[in-house]
Symmetry: C2
Subunit: 400 residues, 2 copies
Amino acid sequence: MEDKKNLEAELKKTGKNLKTKDRALKALVKCNKALVNASEESDLLNKICQIIVETAGYRLAWVGYAEKDEKKSVRPVGQAGYEDGYLEKVNVTWAKTGKPQGPIGKAIRTGKPSIMKNIGSVPLYAPWREEAVKRGYASSIALPLKDKRKTFGALNIYAQDPDAFDSGEVNLLKELADVLAYGIISLRVLSAQKQSEKETKSTLKKLRGALGGTIQVVESIVEEKDPYTAGHQRRSTDLARSIAKEMGLSSDQIDAIRMAGSIHDIGKISIPTEVLSKPTPLTDAEFELIKKHPHVGYDILKNIDFPWRVAEIVLQHHEKLNGSGYPRGLKNGQILIEARVLGVADVVEAMSSHRPYRPARGKKKALEEIKKNKGTLFEPQAVDACVKLIAEKGYKFKQY
Amino acid sequence: MEDKKNLEAELKKTGKNLKTKDRALKALVKCNKALVNASEESDLLNKICQIIVETAGYRLAWVGYAEKDEKKSVRPVGQAGYEDGYLEKVNVTWAKTGKPQGPIGKAIRTGKPSIMKNIGSVPLYAPWREEAVKRGYASSIALPLKDKRKTFGALNIYAQDPDAFDSGEVNLLKELADVLAYGIISLRVLSAQKQSEKETKSTLKKLRGALGGTIQVVESIVEEKDPYTAGHQRRSTDLARSIAKEMGLSSDQIDAIRMAGSIHDIGKISIPTEVLSKPTPLTDAEFELIKKHPHVGYDILKNIDFPWRVAEIVLQHHEKLNGSGYPRGLKNGQILIEARVLGVADVVEAMSSHRPYRPARGKKKALEEIKKNKGTLFEPQAVDACVKLIAEKGYKFKQY
């Protein structure tokens, strides 16, 4: 008989224990799910409180953040369960001095869980007792929420059992508070990243705008000198960039071509307008003047700190593979690939456009010209890419 | 007697159940901790496998990723427990055709857990049986690892018990696999963000470099016309920016001042060099020519698409509060704040520097000048900020 009673008692205890574990396990699983699916901080807070009340079976759960205001108040930011105005009435703080010290403030200050059993009788709970007892809170625990450096709030749980929160339970609830803190921090990191991405995007947009605008300033200065080639730098740069892409050049090479292309005729500012705009064929002396523009451009650019070799590309954009170009008569590999690409685009755009001393010859003639001189004057890969773009892919010069 | 036996049996069952739950709970708590602390994907994978083996008591746990190679192989990426070359020997795939279909491939294809009990006898397991039995694997489960759209791998667990993996256990292990998948994805998102931040940083750096370089091009064009004021645009822009910061202007206004300041004398390119560099006082007619430069600058800039009102600021940088400035004689609030700030910096820099027709008058005189005319000619807030910077904060003009 005695034996049986003992067995029954043990079975009861084990069964209760099993129930508790089962409940805890379910609550933890649900909290994990909530964490995985969270996208809004306040939703996560309320959801976790709800799981604590509904699945783990407590009377009230709420989350408070430690404010840095003068009162050091603990601001409720999420809750679930029977509350009935309690949070507004009790006015929790985490200040070290002044008002009586409650378990929540202690948890926040020490970073350790703070348990309060028998709320109805312990003296420390006096300031909140009446309101707590009225609502059926018989014991409570405050669990710190921490990021790497400090405690930023507390998860507060109230039970109807005056003797709740044994050590196993506390360990589990600590776990749960850590999961919650991790979720909160993850969401904040995510939202900070979104904000910073937004700001970066706006900075990028402004920088691009400023760069585009400043390039236009340079273009307009060149074009004031040489109005007949208005838009030439832009159109040839756009073509050169497309050729470079078609050739599979690196993004850095493409950027270099765009930058150098946009200002490749800057040296023309030192050539007299009469020569640049002359409606009849140039004399040898005049052509010699024209041929100075890559070098003048180089001189303007050589001391400027660009992320690419802009001055060198500008200097080389009239060189030809067989050494017949100017100003230095460089050959093949002596000429930067960026300059070789720009050279092809420069010729094709120029031949396709009207000039004071001749009508436009058209894209067809331009393509014939580069095909005929492929490998002797012009970079073969750039020629192939250019022909493919214009003849097959329907590339068109942009209108500016 | 019968009663007691029943009770004992029930107690045993409940006790075993409790043990199982307890183990599961511990494993889940440890997995959560591993997730919270993870910083490297492979560390997380190995850690979770280790917890499954050591805390949950299985014989082997490993994670395989579904590769997109021709064989559709399942690549082992993390493991713990007794393995002894098993993973190398069995050569798992998730292909639908060809080799016999195993539980892992099935879990990956269907996105559902795939359980294999009694490995020693089920026909389906034949290809792997010998190696499995040798190592004491009697049952196994493959749990899919999923992101939002698809299954990207499987968590595979082997037990010594041929009848392991009841429904409660499966639910928990599913939970665990979800936690693991969440952790993997979070780490990947984080690492992708880091990569993209790095790229953005490099883009920003290049854009800033390109913009800085292009501004220098414009400066050098202006300075070629007017060599005696070399560096004036940069120095006055730097001062104007510092004044704007001191005044607490918005970052957008500061950016506008920097951009407009950098090219504010662009209109000088249309004034004859002889006038700009004249070593004796200017005649009225010459001064009238000089006074045209804000308008010429405006004409160059007015159609250019800047993120700020650059043309308007350039046009207004010689206006004065009392209407005595040029070209339009605007007053007070009619003048953009950016132009008012730039106007103060322009005067202070000019007076502090040497000119062909006069020596430098020095910063002290320059400050006296703006203080004397504060509120009549010059924006009072800008004057105060400028005086504070130079007289109190030790502001010095940069050397370029």
